[in-house]
C-alpha cells in the first residue's frame, strides 16, 4: 500500500497516519505538506518516502554505490529512519553547484539536499534551510608533529594547494608563501607523500578522508579559520516545505552524536581551527581527539565575497570584522551566525531596540559575567577585554533601526 500526498492546503498540518507494511509492523509515516507555492510541476511521489538529492560520486560526502556511502547518505538514512520513511535518491553530479540544485531540488526530483550552505542568499528565496549540522572548511595537512599557531608558520615551505580554491588565492596574495598548485586535492595529497611539497593547505574533508583511508592517518590535520575558509552545512529544502524542514531540524538535533561518529568515520578534521593570523580569542593549543566534532568555528558570510584576510581595509572595518569572527566562533551556537537569529529572544540585532542608549553597557555586562540563569556563560576569560570590545563593535554594526 502506498499513500500519496494529497494535502494541498497551504500550511496544512503534518498528518501522521498509521499503516501496515508487508511485514505487518506498524510504521508511522507522514504527508509532506505541500503548500501552494511548493506545488511545482512534477510527478506525485509516495508520502512514505524521503527523497534525497545527492552527488553519486563525491566521497566523503556521498556516493551512489560501494561500501562507503558518505556522511550525507548515511545521515540521510538515519534521518529517514527516525522519520519512519523510506529513502530514495536523485543522483546528480555537482560539477556546477547551482546547476545541481536547480536540476534536483528545484526541479522537484527530490526534497532534501544535504550539505547546502547555511546562507539565506544561496539560491535566493527558492531554498530554505535547516539549522546547520556540520562544519566544513580548509585545513593545513603535514607530517606530525604539526605545530601551527598561525599561517605564518608555513611561510617559505612548499605548500600544496588546489587550483581555484581559497588557499591558492590566499597564498598568492601574501608575501613569502610558496605554493605548488594541483588540479585535485587528492593529487596535492599524493605530492605531499612523494615529498614534492612540505605541507598542504586543502579542503579539510577531502584531505581528511584521503589521509584516513589511503595513508592510515599518517598526517596531522589542522583546520584553519578565516574569511572564506570555514562554513556550516545545512539541509536545503524547497521554499514552502516548512513542515519538512521542522521535522528535519528536530531529527538532526537528536542525531548529533551519530553525526559526530560519522564525521570521525570519514576522517573529517576535528578540533578547533587555528586562526589564519593567530588572532586573539582562539583556544590554543587546539583541543584534539575530542569525541565530539567541534561545531561552529567560524562562519563568514558567503553572500558577498569580502576582502580576503590580509587585504587592506579601514581600521574600523577591520575591528568589526574581527569582532564578527570572534562572535561567529564563540556566540553563534546560540545567537546564530552573523547574529542573524530567527529566534527573537536570542536575536542580538534587537539590542538597540531593547536597551536604547544602555545597549553597550548592558551587553558588556552580559558578555563579561554572563546571565547564568538563562544559560549564558561568562566570556571574560576566553575573549579578553579586547575581544569583548570587538564583539561589541560588531554587534553595534548589525543593530536594527527603530
Amino acid at each position: 500500500m502506498r499513500i500519496r500526498a494529497t494535502v494541498s492546503e497551504p500550511s496544512a498540518p503534518v498528518a501522521r497516519v498509521a499503516r501496515k507494511d508487508g511485514a505487518g509492523r506498524i510504521i508511522l509515516c507522514f504527508f509532506v505538506a505541500l503548500t501552494a507555492s511548493a506545488a511545482l510541476p512534477g510527478p506525485a511521489f509516495p508520502a512514505d518516502t524521503l527523497r534525497v538529492c545527492a552527488d553519486p560520486d563525491n566521497l566523503p560526502f556521498s556516493r551512489a554505490e560501494g561500501p562507503d556511502r558518505g556522511l550525507y547518505v548515511e545521515l540521510a538514512e538515519l534521518v529517514a529512519g527516525r522519520l519512519g520513511l523510506r529513502s530514495e535518491y536523485a543522483w546528480f553530479l555537482s560539477h556546477y553547484g547551482r546547476r545541481a540544485v536547480r536540476n534536483t531540488l528545484l526541479a522537484n526530483r527530490c526534497d532534501a539536499y544535504f550539505g547546502l550552505p547555511d546562507d539565506t542568499e544561496f539560491m535566493g528565496r527558492s531554498v530554505i534551510r535547516t539549522r546547520p549540522f556540520l562544519d566544513v572548511g580548509y585545513a593545513v595537512i603535514g607530517p606530525r608533529p604539526l605545530a601551527l599557531a598561525s599561517l605564518d608558520d608555513i611561510k617559505g615551505r612548499r605548500v600544496a594547494v588546489q587550483f581555484g580554491t581559497t588557499p591558492q588565492l590566499l597564498l598568492a596574495t601574501r608575501p613569502g608563501f610558496r605554493s605548488v598548485t594541483f588540479k585535485l586535492a587528492e593529487e596535492a595529497m599524493e605530492a605531499l607523500t612523494r615529498g614534492e611539497a612540505d605541507v598542504a593547505f586543502l579542503w579539510g574533508p577531502t584531505a581528511g578522508y584521503f589521509n584516513k583511508t589511503r595513508l592510515g592517518g599518517a598526517y596531522a590535520i589542522v583546520p584553519i579559520a578565516g574569511e572564506g575558509l570555514q562554513w556550516q552545512a545545512a539541509v536545503g529544502v524547497r521554499k514552502g516545505q516548512d513542515s519538512l524542514k521542522t521535522d528535519l531540524d528536530r531529527v538532526l538535533d537528536q542525531l548529533k552524536p551519530e553525526i559526530n561518529t560519522l564525521a570521525d568515520k570519514y576522517g573529517f578534521p576535528l578540533g578547533r581551527p587555528v586562526n589564519l593570523d593567530g588572532q586573539r580569542g582562539m583556544l590554543w593549543p587546539p583541543e584534539r581527539g575530542v569525541g565530539a566534532l567541534q561545531l561552529v568555528q567560524l562562519q563568514e558570510s558567503t553572500t558577498r565575497p569580502t576582502p580576503a584576510a590580509g587585504m587592506p581595509t579601514s581600521t574600523g572595518d577591520g575591528l568589526v570584522r574581527l569582532g564578527r569572527s570572534l562572535f561567529n566562533q564563540h556566540c553563534s551556537h546560540c545567537h546564530a551566525p552573523n547574529a542573524v537569529s530567527a529566534e527573537p529572544t536570542r536575536d542580538l540585532r534587537r539590542l538597540a531596540l531593547r536597551y536604547g542608549s544602555r545597549m553597550r553597557e548592558t551587553a558588556y555586562a552580559a558578555i563579561t559575567i554572563g546571565r547564568v540563569d538563562k544559560g549564558m556563560p561568562a566570556w571574560k576569560d576566553l575573549l579578553g577585554e579586547e575581544g569583548i570590545q570587538n564583539v561589541l563593535g560588531f554587534l553595534e554594526s548589525v543593530q536594527r533601526q527603530p
Binding site: 542568499e121 580554491t165 588565492l169 598548485t181 565575497p305
Partner: protein, 561 residues
C-alpha cells in the same frame, strides 16, 4: 539564362577577389562558408526583388531540443548537419529534399550536461577527402565515412570529466584536422591539437600557455601557468597563401587576477600570454608565428575566441591582407594578418572598461574603476561577461564591403572572483549582477560595420540579446535569426527587413546558402539557447519567455515559377 548570368557574376566576383580572400559559391563546404570565415555567398538568385516570396522547401527534426548552434555544410548534393547534446545526431541528408541518407548517433556519456560548462551545443562538422570530422562533448574527435556515416577513427582530445568539452567544428588544413576545446575555467592549460586525417594520430600539440623556459611564461605569477586556461573553443581560420592558421583563445583561469598577476590595471609583466589573444600558427609545425593579445590580464571573462574573418582591405591606399575580429571586449580589431600588426581598433558597442586601444602597444587604456579586483566590486562594467559579441559569427560582404555583426548590449557588476565551486567543496553563494541592460535600453543590435572607416553604417536594435549568426549574399541580402524564432532577410545596404519567417524557437545558429540543380537554397537551424539565460536573472527570464526550446533545420527556396 538566369543561371548563366549568375554563374558569370560568380566568376567575375571570384576574379576580383584576391586568391586568399575566399568566398563561396554553389557549395558551402566549411562552417564559415570558407576558411576565411566570411560567410559570404556569391549566389544571387535569391535577392532583394524576390526574397519576399521565400518559403520553406523542407525541414528536418534534429532529434534534440535546446541550444542548436550548427551551420550545415554542403558536399556534393549532401547536406551535413549536427544537433545539440553530444551531438545526439549527425545527419547526412539529400540537400534537395531533406531525405536522410545516414544518421550518426554516438553514445553520449550519461550525464554529459553535468560536465559541459556552457550548455550542450554543437556547431557542426568539417569535411575533407571523403571524411566528416566531428568534435564531441565527450572530448573526442571522430572521423566518419562521408558516404555511410561509419566511424573510421576516434581520438581523445581532452578528458571531458574535467569540465572541458568540444563544441566547434575542427579545421581541416592539408592532411591535418585541428581542434581546440572549451571550458577553460576549470583547471586546464589550453592547447590546440592536430591529428592526421587518415589515422587520427596526433601530429602536434600546441599549448596556448607557455611552460617555464618558453617565451611568455614570465607573464604568469608563480605556477599559475599550470592551469592558465586560454582554450580555443571556437572556429579557426586559415590563409593558404600565407600558410597561417588563426585561432582565438579564451580568458585566463582562474577568473580572479590575484593568483595570475598584479590584479590591477598596472599589469606589469603579468599579461598572462597567450590568453584572450589571436594566435597565428604555422600548421606544419604547430608553432606560434605571431600573437596579438586583446585583453591582457583579463578579469572580465572577455574570451578572445571570436572568429577571425580574413579579407583584403584597402588600408591607406594599399591593399592589405587583414584579419577582422569583433572581440568580446567590445573593440573591433583590424590586424595585418601577415605579422599581427594592429592597424586599427575601435569600439563597436557602448563600452566603458577601457577608453581606447593604444595604437603603439596594442593595449587597452583601462578605466581602473571598471577592473574588478579582490575585495573591489566594479559596478556597471560594459560589456558584461558575454561580451559585445559572442560566438555567433559575423559576415563580411564582398558586395558592400561591410561586416554584419550580431552585437550584445549588457553590463554587469563584478568583484575579483573568489574561488570557484569545486565538487567535494562547498556550494558558494557568490552572486553578482551579471545581466544589466546596457545604455540605450536595447539588449542586442544587428550592425553593419565599415571595417576600413571603423564605424557603424546602420543598426537594427532589438529588445533581446542573442541575435543569431550572419550570412551575406551577392543578392544584396543579409540573413539572421533572433531569440523569438524569427529568421529574417535584410537589405544589406539599409538593414530594412525584406522578409521574415518564424521558426518557432530561438535562432542563434548562423545560416548558410547553397545552389543545387540551378536552384538556390537558404538553410538555418532553429532551437533556442537554454543554459545561457540562467546567468542573467530577469533578463534571462525574458530570454526564456521569448520562445520554446526546439531543434529543427529549415531550408528555404523560391517558389517554382
Amino acid at each position: 539564362m538566369k543561371t548563366f548570368t549568375a554563374l558569370l557574376v560568380v566568376l567575375m566576383l571570384a576574379g576580383l577577389a584576391s586568391p586568399v580572400a575566399a568566398q563561396t559559391g554553389a557549395a558551402w563546404s566549411v562552417y564559415g562558408g570558407d576558411n576565411a570565415n566570411t560567410r559570404y555567398s556569391t549566389l544571387n538568385q535569391i535577392n532583394a526583388s524576390n526574397v519576399g516570396r521565400l518559403k520553406v522547401a523542407w525541414a528536418l527534426q534534429l532529434g534534440s531540443l535546446r541550444s542548436q548552434e550548427s551551420t550545415p555544410i554542403l558536399v556534393g548534393d549532401t547536406l551535413y548537419v549536427t544537433s545539440s547534446h553530444g551531438p545526439k545526431n549527425v545527419f547526412a541528408v539529400d540537400a534537395r529534399t531533406g531525405e536522410v541518407r545516414w544518421r550518426y548517433s554516438p553514445e553520449v556519456p550519461a550525464g554529459i550536461e553535468q560536465y559541459a560548462c556552457c550548455d550542450v551545443n554543437n556547431r557542426g562538422v568539417a569535411h575533407a577527402n571523403g571524411k566528416i570530422f566531428l568534435g564531441r562533448l565527450d572530448g573526442h574527435l571522430v572521423a566518419l565515412d562521408a558516404r555511410t556515416g561509419k566511424e573510421l577513427w576516434k581520438s581523445q582530445v581532452i578528458d571531458h570529466t574535467g569540465g572541458s568539452v568540444i563544441t566547434s567544428p575542427p579545421m581541416v588544413v592539408k592532411n591535418l584536422v585541428i581542434t581546440g576545446f572549451g571550458g577553460g575555467e576549470y583547471g586546464v592549460r589550453g592547447y590546440i591539437t592536430a591529428f592526421d586525417q587518415d589515422t587520427g594520430r596526433e601530429v602536434w600539440k600546441l599549448y596556448t600557455v607557455p611552460a617555464p623556459g618558453e617565451p611568455g611564461n614570465e607573464t604568469w605569477k608563480g605556477d599559475s601557468w599550470k592551469f592558465g586556461g586560454g582554450v580555443a573553443w571556437h572556429i579557426g581560420s586559415y590563409d593558404p597563401a600565407l600558410n597561417l592558421l588563426y585561432y582565438g583563445t579564451s580568458n585566463p583561469a582562474p577568473w580572479g587576477g590575484a593568483i595570475r598577476g598584479n590584479d590591477s590595471s598596472n599589469i606589469g609583466p603579468y599579461t598572462n600570454l597567450y590568453t584572450a589573444s589571436t594566435l597565428a600558427i604555422n600548421p606544419d609545425t604547430g608553432k606560434i608565428v605571431w600573437h596579438f593579445q586583446h585583453t591582457p590580464h583579463d578579469v572580465w571573462d572577455y574570451d578572445g575566441v571570436n572568429e577571425l574573418v580574413l579579407v583584403d582591405l584597402d588600408i591607406g591606399g594599399r591593399k592589405t591582407p587583414v584579419a577582422l575580429k569583433a572581440d568580446r571586449n567590445g573593440f573591433f580589431y583590424v590586424l595585418d594578418r601577415r605579422n599581427g600588426k594592429l592597424l586599427s581598433a575601435e569600439k563597436f558597442i557602448d563600452l566603458n572598461w577601457a577608453k581606447s586601444i593604444d595604437m603603439t602597444t596594442g593595449r587597452p587604456v583601462e578605466n581602473a574603476d571598471k577592473r574588478p579586483r579582490l575585495g573591489f566590486k566594479a559596478k556597471d562594467i560594459c560589456p558584461n561577461l558575454i561580451g559585445g559579441k559572442n560566438w555567433m559569427p559575423m559576415s563580411y560582404s564582398f558586395q558592400t564591403g561591410l561586416v554584419y555583426v550580431p552585437t550584445i548590449n549588457l553590463c554587469m557588476d563584478l568583484e575579483g572572483m573568489q574561488p570557484q565551486y569545486k565538487r567535494g567543496g562547498f556550494y558558494l553563494a557568490t552572486e553578482f549582477d551579471l545581466g544589466k541592460g546596457g545604455p540605450g535600453g536595447h539588449l542586442g543590435e544587428v550592425m553593419a560595420w565599415d571595417p576600413v572607416k571603423q564605424q557603424k553604417v546602420w543598426g537594427n536594435k532589438d529588445d533581446l540579446l542573442y541575435l543569431g549568426g550572419m550570412l551575406s549574399t551577392a543578392g544584396g541580402l543579409v540573413f539572421h535569426g533572433d531569440l523569438k524564432g524569427w529568421f529574417k532577410a535584410l537589405d544589406a545596404k539599409t538593414g530594412r527587413a525584406l522578409w521574415q519567417f518564424n521558426t518557432g524557437s530561438g535562432v542563434s545558429a548562423a545560416p548558410m546558402t547553397y545552389e543545387l540543380g540551378g536552384k538556390q537554397y537558404v538553410a538555418v537551424v532553429s532551437g533556442r539557447t537554454f543554459a545561457i539565460p540562467a546567468f542573467f536573472g530577469p533578463i534571462g527570464e525574458k530570454m526564456v519567455a521569448a520562445s520554446a526550446e526546439g531543434g529543427t533545420l529549415f531550408v528555404f527556396e523560391l517558389p517554382t515559377p
